[in-house]
Point group: C2
Chain length 356, copies 2
């Protein structure tokens, strides 16, 4: 493998000294970029784009051509695993993802296809290895998956949900079935992420988009426990280098102490959490990623810069911070505002790393 | 005024001893009840129902005929104030509330109608006094309003929003305009709630439904500060009795310590907060209201009962807890499950109040 030219992101995740705070953006490849929309049009549907290794590579690299990001992230969907399990993922324009089948009974669970990520999600692995080759060591490549709980919400509800009535009824009334489904998903996710590492991913992020819909006790029982199971089954390193894992639970700010103990090297923060307090709460256990309000990118470049300054000062001196938004970038953001955002992190962060 | 026969709710809000934990449910009058749907049909639109004092009284009392709730809450909408300010509230079937006009500039702000709640929201005051009379002292009546920030989100966005792009752009780029709007709203809300107290409300709740969309610093600056302003302008008592105020910020669990200092007597918790930890964090400063996951009402009566038990034990011994859901009851809940819920609180809570 080509040597990594910029390892700032990996070093910060391991709380090793860096010259400045690394930055990338969740959903950095996507609808706010005209070149993405052009490629998407060429590909056909969103799923066609995910399944085409060359085009998935192209949209992964597009933001890196515009902005000096410190990491690339695989372009894919969080629902590839349930799709491979046989549920039939599809998208209707203007709506969220949907599944043709749902999992609501023991029979539904038994009817899921047994999968091996290398074979059944080979298109993802082709995209990973293509991107890794094309990156040519410029920056590390992040692989990712949805968390078991988050995947389960879509599988049980059949799509997005406001109140998660179906899955919560299952969790509350049929906990054994719920745990069987989550165990199956945790093992599938571990296999999927392991295959991504073997294909070339150098760091991993688990997106727990809907863990925050649970009660404190429910989060521990139905979401965090299964992310721990995933992490415990991942390869610790690849090419002789540690593969750090980032766990991001949107709405998980109240539970940082327990999340910090789940085995991940880093915890993603959404924008509702004060990063200064978060660092005090997690101490030396994990790095932190985040956490500017994505809507701040609608504000003026000067206002964006002052917010970056506030967040950098909030985290304070030393390594262990990866700058990011507190959630995916919002479609409709002016790409020039992203320039202001990335420039601000580049220019304002070195002072927090002098003498390390 | 008739003497209050059941003051358990008011006493718990003031952390005075009670025989058992009082209970009511946010949105207890509403779509999960067939008798509500029948009255709603008779009224015409949702707004027609809010504006008809007799029918608003009828739906307010409906849940009390089924369940031994310890409080009634005025049936109304949170957007009556912006409607009176001239924005033209309307509802489209299956969608959220909408406004015909929005407030996005100094000129829009200057164009708002000056209002006096007694005159311009007289229909609300008629509903309050009608309900208070019909309650005949059975239980206290809760008046309510949306928080200034929550009202502003609808006024600036023109309706519901996923990412609050418009109002956040205003907050970040035009803070002076944002603060002028919030000041105007805080004073209107204070006048509105004061008028409700004069009309007969015996406790008040401020619904800060969208405060949780802000960053920690943004919450303090744009939401909490203005709820403090509202509370500081409210009458401390009516008929010689204190009028307690409950502040409920959905998604505000990370900020409990500061919310507890806003001047309210009680803080509402959504279901993501561990009530045991919450009590330790707020200490003796405020009572707590909440916080069962509304989706728990989809589970079996036995499961509901065990959850009530867990929450009661979490709060622990002594007064200062008002049982409630962590958000409004979900339409589609089986009314018999509400019976199980209310019965469980009634039957299981006295043990936490013996010897007080």
């Amino acid at each position: 493998m080509t040597e990594l030219k910029n390892d700032r992101f990996l070093r910060a995740l391991l709380r090793q000294s860096v010259d400045r705070t690394p930055i990338w953006m969740m959903r950095q490849a996507g609808r706010y970029l005209p070149e993405y929309r052009a490629t998407r049009e060429k590909a056909g549907s969103f799923l066609d784009l995910c399944k085409n290794a060359e085009l998935a590579c192209e949209v992964t690299l597009q933001p890196l051509r515009r902005y000096p990001m410190d990491a690339a992230i695989l372009f894919s969907d969080i629902l590839t695993v349930p799709d491979a399990l046989g549920l039939g993922l599809y998208f209707e324009e203007g709506e969220g993802p949907r599944f043709r089948k749902t999992v609501r009974s023991e029979a539904d669970l038994a009817g899921l296809t047994a999968i091996k990520a290398d074979d059944d999600l080979a298109y993802v692995m082709r995209a990973v290895s293509t991107i890794r080759r094309e990156l040519n060591g410029a920056v590390p490549l992040i692989g990712f998956s949805g968390s078991p709980w988050t995947l389960a919400t879509y599988m049980v509800e059949g799509g997005s949900s406001k109140d998660f009535a179906q899955i919560k009824t299952m969790a509350y009334d049929k906990p054994a079935l719920m745990h069987d489904l989550l165990t199956l998903l945790a093992d599938a996710v571990a296999d999927y992420l392991t295959a991504q590492v073997h294909a070339g991913a150098q760091a991993l992020q688990i997106f727990d988009t809907w863990g925050g819909s649970l009660s404190a006790a429910g989060y521990q029982e139905f979401s965090l426990q299964y992310m721990q199971r995933v992490i415990s089954r991942l390869p610790a390193e690849a090419d002789g280098r540690q593969v750090p894992v980032i766990v991001f639970t949107k709405g998980g700010g109240q539970w940082l102490e327990t999340i910090a103990d789940c085995g991940a090297q880093a915890v993603g923060l959404d924008w509702t959490t004060d990063i200064n307090k978060a660092r005090a709460r997690v101490g030396d256990r994990v790095a932190l990623q985040g956490n500017m309000d994505p809507s701040m990118l609608f504000a003026s470049p000067a206002r964006i810069r002052s917010e970056v300054d506030t967040i950098l000062a909030g985290y304070g001196r030393g390594s262990g911070h990866v700058f990011n938004l507190g959630h995916g970038i919002t479609p409709g953001v002016n790409p020039d505002h992203v320039t202001a955002f990335v420039d601000a992190v580049q220019e304002l962060s070195p002072q927090y790393h002098t003498g390390d």
